[in-house]
């Protein structure tokens, strides 16, 4: 198998103060340019898994870890979080806890400065990053004087400016209103256009279905399902067993099949569902 962007094999992890492992024997891999959505009930271990990928767990947040994680062919154990940050960007859940500088421009420059990016290049990259998240013209403002959605986009811009190949976002939109969510997901779509690899954790299956190539379902620290978005979201019964649900349109088509003995294919996006429905009624 060719080198994958992220390759996790037999990962098991246990926090010092938990009785049983939070992550149990997890294996999956994603290729360059793919976007992976991780879903699962709260406490499933999604954040822990995401933090394993960039080494935050167990290097900064302690615990016992077994198994292998390779990012771009490099072993995460043998590196450290700061060095990994050149390759893996991480966006956290709370927007304002991620901001530490006096102005937006410096916020974005902070990570680059730590990487030793020369000043002339910084200015260009700041511009790029701000336009990617459509925050142009805010350079001199204080990060605290932004709305939650804008702050989260700023946090994303600060990570983007470091030019990682992989971007991990842990529930980046859970603190935001629908408009803020759209703003963040639009950025995610842009990432795809830039050919970046991404991992996103979210509870909104509709958005995951619309934006991700692959989906991983985590429950009780175990991988319950892993596959392409279609594969995962069309196994509705399995999802229901895990107290999760498929996107509304998929649920609709499935219900329709059940009640009216239909033979519709299950689609995961509105657009596809319309096509399916349309062709079946001809």
């Amino acid at each position: 198998m060719a080198e994958q962007a992220i390759e996790v094999t037999n990962l098991t992890f246990e926090y010092p103060d938990t009785e049983e492992p939070v992550l149990k024997d997890i294996s999956f891999s994603i290729d360059y340019g793919e976007i992976l959505g991780i879903i699962g009930p709260t406490g499933a271990g999604k954040s822990t898994l995401a933090m394993c990928v960039n080494g935050l767990v167990p290097q900064v947040i302690n615990g016992e870890m077994e198994g292998d994680i390779k990012v771009k062919g490099m072993n995460v154990h043998e590196s450290n979080v700061a060095a990994m940050s050149e390759h893996v960007g991480f966006v956290f859940q709370e927007p304002e806890n991620q901001l530490s500088q006096m102005t937006i421009e410096e916020e974005i420059a902070f990570g680059m400065g730590n990487l030793g990016v020369p000043r002339e290049e910084m200015l260009g990259r700041i511009k790029d990053a701000l336009s990617q998240v459509s925050l142009e013209g805010f350079e001199e403002r204080s990060p605290l004087a932004l709305s939650g959605g804008q702050q989260q986009r700023l946090a994303i811009a600060a990570v983007l400016a470091m030019r990682p190949t992989i971007m991990i976002m842990d529930e980046p939109t859970s603190m935001l209103d629908p408009k803020g969510k759209n703003e963040v997901y639009d950025v995610l779509k842009n990432l795809k256009a830039y050919g970046m690899t991404g991992i996103i954790i979210d509870h909104e299956v509709e958005r995951i279905a619309a934006y991700c190539d692959k989906v991983l379902v985590l429950d009780g620290g175990e991988v319950q399902m892993f596959g392409t978005t279609e594969e995962v979201f069309t196994k509705i019964d399995r999802l229901h067993e895990l107290t999760l649900h498929a996107p509304q349109v998929t649920e609709f088509l499935s219900q329709y099949n059940q009640q009216f003995d239909g033979k519709l294919d299950l689609a995961t996006t509105v657009k596809k569902a319309v096509e399916v429905y349309e062709s079946a009624n001809k």
């Binding site: 960039n54 935050l56 900064v60 947040i61 450290n80 979080v81 700061a82 060095a83 940050s85 050149e86 960007g89 991480f90 956290f92 709370e94 304002e96 806890n97 991620q98 530490s100 500088q101 006096m102 102005t103 421009e105 410096e106 420059a109 902070f110 990570g111 680059m112 400065g113 730590n114 990487l115 030793g116 990016v117 020369p118 000043r119 910084m122 200015l123 700041i126 204080s142 605290l144 600060a158 990570v159 470091m162």
Partner: protein, 297 residues
């Protein structure tokens, strides 16, 4: 507003932070070299033009008010009670006498506070915190220390905002935050305990974020803000050196023949601070009363 920094377009603002840090050191040194009330008063007056050049007269006066309160307290209490005093200067009601030696002592101390305060205000209000941090890094101060200094500025507004949230939350649980003084002091505990925990958690989370932004990465770091020492800085530094030499000369050779500190000067400066403080008090009371009256309407 994030910090005490006041962005203005002035000569002082455009000085390199390092020059200004040296300036603060210079002011502190001067205030100790010239340990004579008259000379310190002179120093204070001499610093004022710099405040004017920095276009900070109003914010300066507002912040110096608080130091003035200290000055009044020190001058009054020490002037009367400090045991080093022997020569009476003047008496106020009830047999309380101000004595010459203790007044000199008190004046030196309180003027020193004012002088150093002025220097510090000049520095803090004209220096962008990030510039200060990057200047420190140029002085080979460890990056993490500079960052601690910088984030202290940043964490203040965050704490302030959290404090408001905690206060509102506790109010919603029927905590009386607007009661009398004793009640309010008692209520500081249910305010500060959660505030402390929240701040601690925030800082903890921030440390993960910093790690993800390569903060502890080895190797050289770069900064967006550039600070350069230019000709203006050199002339400023030279000026300070000249003044310093003059001060030392004055101190070593002139002190015997020069006697600027007189009873009158001491008395007037004491009364002067009283008057200013009294004025502040009246203003404060006036505002209070006005607020009350306005509240009734």
């Amino acid at each position: 507003m994030n910090s005490l920094y006041m962005p203005k377009d002035s000569l002082i603002h455009s000085l390199d932070p390092r020059t200004k840090m040296i300036f603060v050191a210079f002011v502190v040194a001067s205030s100790f070299i010239m340990n004579d009330p008259a000379l310190q008063l002179l120093l204070l007056v001499a610093l004022f033009p710099l405040v004017v050049i920095a276009k900070l007269v109003k914010p300066y006066l507002i912040s110096i008010q608080f130091l003035l309160l200290f000055a009044v307290l020190i001058m009054t209490v020490h002037g009367i009670y400090n045991p080093i005093g022997v020569t009476p200067v003047f008496e106020i009601f009830g047999g309380l006498t101000f004595k010459y030696e203790s007044m000199v002592y008190a004046s030196v101390m309180s003027f020193r506070i004012l002088v150093i305060g002025t220097g510090a205000v000049l520095f803090v209000m004209t220096t962008h915190p990030s510039d200060m941090a990057s200047a420190l890094v140029k002085w080979k101060v460890p990056h993490s220390f500079a960052f601690i200094l910088l984030s202290t500025f940043q964490i203040i507004p965050i704490i302030a905002r959290e404090a408001k949230i905690v206060m509102e939350a506790q109010q919603a649980r029927c905590l009386d935050v607007k009661g009398n003084i004793i009640q309010r002091v008692k209520n500081l505990v249910p305010m500060f305990a959660p505030l402390f925990i929240i701040t601690f958690m925030k800082v903890h989370q921030l440390s993960y974020v910093l790690e993800c932004r390569a903060f502890s990465r080895k190797g050289n770091k770069t900064s967006l803000r550039e600070t350069n020492i230019g000709s203006l800085d050199y002339s400023f530094l030279l000026g300070m050196l000249a003044v310093l030499v003059f001060e030392i000369y004055l101190k070593l050779f002139m002190m015997g023949s020069l006697q600027l500190t007189t009873d009158a000067l001491l008395t007037y400066s004491l009364i002067g601070t009283w008057v200013v403080c009294g004025f502040m008090l009246i203003k404060f009371l006036f505002k209070r009363v006005q607020g009350k009256v306005g509240g009734v309407n």
